[in-house]
């Protein structure tokens, strides 16, 4: 299976290295000559050097036979056009843009290109650092509009021994699952929280701190 990556920098190198070691065929399109030379020397990948605005590059990168295309250049306009060309001209089935401006995550998806933002991920992580000890895992879905948080209830938490209906939980925060030891419980209002319960909480990013305050 061939993966085509458009971009430059060290992240592209590590990404390509992982994929080649997993047995994928990798093509890299880069507009930076020193980076291209470094990739050629250190990777088992097909490296194409040229301007991102040149439609021929994708053909040279064997985009016709590729199954995955990743647009991760430092310019979002190049990412969009490369991804759209990969989709419309080369009919690559799976396409992902790694956008620089976090706002473009939503913009791209409305134009029909799936996009993720490293910047948004960093912002979320940094903002939640103070709460990180309590959070076991956190997943963003729907372009970051919804967050699923996994947190463990400590023994001294206020909510221990209370049923969900006794706890003032806003409508925008949903307790979807409680993991208690080996058991997976889909909670109801009458479900009582115990210490060491692991909660899967579904909420909007803005309400995550409210959820943490209630259950921490």
């Amino acid at each position: 299976m061939r993966i085509v990556i458009a971009g430059t920098g060290i992240t592209v190198y590590f990404l390509a290295k992982r994929f080649t070691s997993k047995g994928y065929s990798v093509s890299i399109i880069s507009d930076n000559l020193p980076d291209s030379e470094y990739y050629t020397k250190n990777l088992k990948a097909l490296v194409i050097n040229g301007k991102f605005s040149d439609p021929e590059l994708l053909t040279q990168a064997q985009a016709h036979s590729a199954e995955i295309f990743i647009g991760m250049t430092s310019r979002d306009q190049d990412n969009l056009v490369l991804c759209q060309m990969a989709k419309e001209f080369y009919e690559i089935p799976r396409i992902l843009a790694v956008v620089n401006d976090p706002d473009n995550e939503e913009v791209f998806s409305k134009i029909g290109i799936r996009a993720i933002s490293n910047c948004r991920f960093l912002i979320e992580t940094i903002e939640n650092m103070s709460d990180l000890d309590k959070i076991k895992q956190q997943i963003s879905v729907v372009e970051g509009k919804v967050i699923i948080t996994e947190m463990e209830i400590s023994a001294d938490a206020r909510v221990v021994g209370k049923s969900l209906s006794q706890i003032p939980i806003p409508m925008s925060v949903l307790i979807t699952t409680i993991v208690r030891g080996e058991d997976v419980i889909i909670p109801q209002g009458s479900t009582v929280i115990e210490a060491k319960d692991r909660l899967l909480i579904l909420c909007l990013p803005d309400n995550q701190s409210i959820a943490l305050r209630i259950f921490a």
Partner: protein, 143 residues
């Protein structure tokens, strides 16, 4: 003629000349450019607004009240940026008329595949020049 709200992105020679004309004709204009010096190209007859910023940043575009625009012209020297801006204006803001400048004639296939209305100054220039040289070219053929 009804007055229109027109946004021009890219205030080089092309963008500024057009902005001056349309402003003189009584339309409301906003011109966006990332280089402040470019706005010097706008003459005294220009009475619209200017926004200094990189049109690549989504926030800058939304500042221009794109949702209210009758016409958006993406005239920067960056073809991929023009493609992106055209699609944002058409698909996100439902702007009724969007035209993008094609700098490199070879990228026009990408524009047309994506259904973007374009203008290519290089090709228009060639056509015009060829036509004006028509007599000379014909006469030359006899030599």
């Amino acid at each position: 003629m009804k007055e229109k709200y027109i946004i021009i992105i890219g205030c080089g020679t092309f963008g500024s000349t057009l902005a001056n004309r349309l402003s003189s004709a009584g339309h409301s204009l906003v011109v966006i450019d990332q280089q402040e010096a470019s706005f010097k190209n706008l003459g005294d007859e220009y009475s619209g607004f200017i926004i200094h910023g990189d049109a690549n940043e989504f926030l800058i575009i939304s500042q221009a009240k794109v949702d209210k625009a009758d016409i958006v012209l993406a005239l920067t020297d960056d073809d991929n940026l023009n493609i992106m801006l055209s699609q944002i204006c058409t698909k996100l803001y439902n702007v009724p008329r969007v035209v993008a400048r094609v700098n490199n004639p070879s990228s026009s296939s990408v524009f047309s595949k994506l259904g973007i209305e374009t203008i290519c100054p290089a090709l228009l220039g060639c056509d015009a020049l060829e036509k004006s040289l028509d007599d000379a070219l014909q006469a030359g053929a006899g030599k």
